[in-house]
Amino acid sequence: MTYFLDLFMSGLTRGSIYALIALGYTMVYGIIALINFAHGEIYMIGAFTALLASLVLSSLGLTGWGLLFSVAAIAAIYSAMYGWTVERIAYRPLRGASRLAPLISAIGMSFFLQNYVQLAQTPNFMLFPDLIPQMPFLKPVAGYLNRTQVMILLFTIVSMVALTFYIKYTKMGMAMRAVAQDITMARLSGVNIDRVISTTFIIGSVLAALGGVLIGCSMRQIYFHMGFLAGMKAFTAAVLGGIGSIPGAVIGALILGFAESFAAGYISSSYRDVVAFIILIIILIFRPEGIMGQAQTQKV
């Protein structure tokens, strides 16, 4: 039973990590139906910026929560700038082109950003400082739940709820839904498409950057290639949950996390991803629109 609990907790953490990245993914995905391969790279850039910021700020004497929040803020701002720029350069000129063209452009951007960070910084793994302050009240459950996990879980839930409300109840959220449903119609109704899409990219990038900071604290190591696998898993989670659905992305990510964790624990860690992918295929066979996605009536 303790083993089960152990695996459950590790699955939960793994799932929330995927969820953090999948949230940004699903936003972009939902609105312009683009598999944004560069999203994982934005997350990586967020982590690298956070590392640099933490070194500079801690040498200036900042510590504790203040350090964590200012590092997170800097990482979020820079990632948002990168996300916005990537959209401007690689996706905006391709709006309305066949849907595979921006996909390839995204892949190119992903290559570019990866190699840019590798050349500008280092091809090596970098140690990431543990920015999250001690939480004494976690002492009794230290073996199963540590402060990083608490932060990741908290943050995932908060951002999921906040995003859901943002999209449901704000004007920009409404514009986003309009663009997601029909980009031409939204434009005709006076929605500023460019602004909506830019905002989406900025929100997605901020989430990715904060994910980068938290995952950096959890893994304690970052490197230029870290975005690729994370991006792929997040994409999987986003599709599993149903494209464009915010709670769907989180649920999809959690299912993926649990599947991997239990598959590793009870079957074999070598076959972990195999089991996870098979579960994914089975779910999609029975619910072809993803878990939270809505079946669409196809019209001719």
């Binding site: 152990d6 990590i17 140690l127 073996g143 540590n146 893994m219 190591q221 490197y223 964790s261 860690s269």
Partner: protein, 373 residues
């Protein structure tokens, strides 16, 4: 018409540039370097290249090789086998006959098959046993000891400490899985009383190793032997210690790297690793380290000495033979002469493995690798 021109331009760019590229005057003695300069394992490849560059700089200061300065021709393979084969063919087509590389075992094997026994090749980091054992590559040498040395040392230590339950984890790569399997075979042959409670492959570059930690805890292993590189091991060790798991960690030479301690920090304390016997005490090695500091502002990487030693042994052999094309003569010199290098005296046996390179066991104490007993 414009489009026709455009198409022809692309076509020409694609195909015809390489055809004329290799014609070059031979005013230098050229040595090829094949290995990872990009990708996940770039840091290993770079330490190899830096070792080679050091040896070349030293030789050039003394007048080069065969009276001509030495020039390095480098090709990246990113440790991907089919890239390695392409890089190998590129190097071979430049009429190079001396190659230092490749970095990873899998890449080395595919490169060997692409070189097709037309070059002398010394690897300073490819450790997999069958590379020299299968006898298919008569001109392949290596300065790094083979994988079978390490599990033997690790097993001795385990027996000595009286551990009964062993977990073997590996990174599923060429290097790591071969090491893990080798240890497993060693245990089955020599110490059947020991119980392997966990034998698992771990996916590299994962976002979390917590499930592996859970499995380790559940297996109640007293000692965990890692087959793979320090990049994954440091993350795994951090998460193990984070979760209060005190299992002893033993690793191969992929762990014996200051980078491991830098990365894992306090969690590295008490970890063991097999690594080459300390050679940085000699004057030559000290000079090499100082040189590395001025060139790259950092400590030498894992394979720096292996690569520099390989290059120095190769240069000595070539100098004696008097040309770079008589592969059999160079092979004979490499096998018969002992050369003093930064990594100590180097001579190769009939299979191509270096003689005398020894592994010893290290333990991390106060942020440093210290030899055990």
């Amino acid at each position: 018409m414009k489009t026709v021109v455009k198409f022809l331009a692309i076509f020409a760019l694609a195909f015809f540039l390489p055809f004329g590229a290799s014609a070059q005057a031979q005013e230098t003695t050229r040595i090829g370097y094949g290995g990872a300069l990009l990708g996940d394992l770039a840091s290993y490849g770079l330490s190899n290249l830096y070792g080679l560059e050091f040896a070349v700089a030293q030789a050039n200061a003394k007048g080069g090789l065969l009276g001509k300065p030495i020039e390095i021709v480098q090709e990246d393979d990113s440790c991907i086998p089919d890239n390695a084969a392409k890089a190998a063919l590129k190097l071979a087509s430049e009429n190079l006959t001396l190659i230092l590389g490749h970095t990873c075992s899998g890449a080395t094997r595919s490169a060997l098959s692409a070189y097709n026994n037309k070059v002398i090749m010394i690897s300073s980091s490819a450790t997999e046993i069958s590379l020299t054992d299968d006898g298919a590559s008569p001109y392949f040498f290596r300065t790094t000891p083979r994988d079978d040395e390490q599990p033997r040392l690790q097993l001795n230590y385990i027996k000595q400490k009286g551990f009964k339950k062993i977990a073997i984890l590996h990174d599923k790569g060429d290097y790591g899985s071969a090491l893990a399997l080798s240890l497993q075979a060693n245990i089955k042959e020599q110490a059947p009383e020991l119980e392997i409670v966990l034998f698992e492959g771990v996916t590299t570059g994962e976002v979390s190793y917590e499930d592996v930690v859970s499995m380790l805890r559940n297996s109640q292993a007293e000692v965990m032997v890692w087959g793979g590189y320090h990049s994954d091991a440091s993350k795994l060790v951090i998460q193990m210690r984070d979760k209060g798991l005190e299992t002893v960690v033993i690793g191969p030479d992929g762990l014996y790297d200051q980078q491991f301690i830098t990365m894992a920090g306090a969690a590295a304390e008490g970890a063991l690793a097999t690594g080459q016997a300390d050679i940085s005490g000699t004057d030559a090695a000290k000079a090499a380290i100082a040189d590395h500091h001025t060139r790259h502002q950092e400590e030498p990487g894992t394979y720096f000495f292996y690569a520099a030693g390989a290059a120095q042994a190769l240069f000595a052999a070539v100098e004696k033979v008097g040309n770079t094309t008589d592969l059999d003569a160079i092979k004979k010199r490499l096998q018969e002469d002992t050369v003093e290098t930064v990594m100590g005296p180097v001579r190769f046996d009939a299979k191509g493995d270096v003689i005398g390179a020894k592994f010893i066991l290290y333990e991390v104490k106060d942020g440093k690798f210290v030899p055990v007993n």
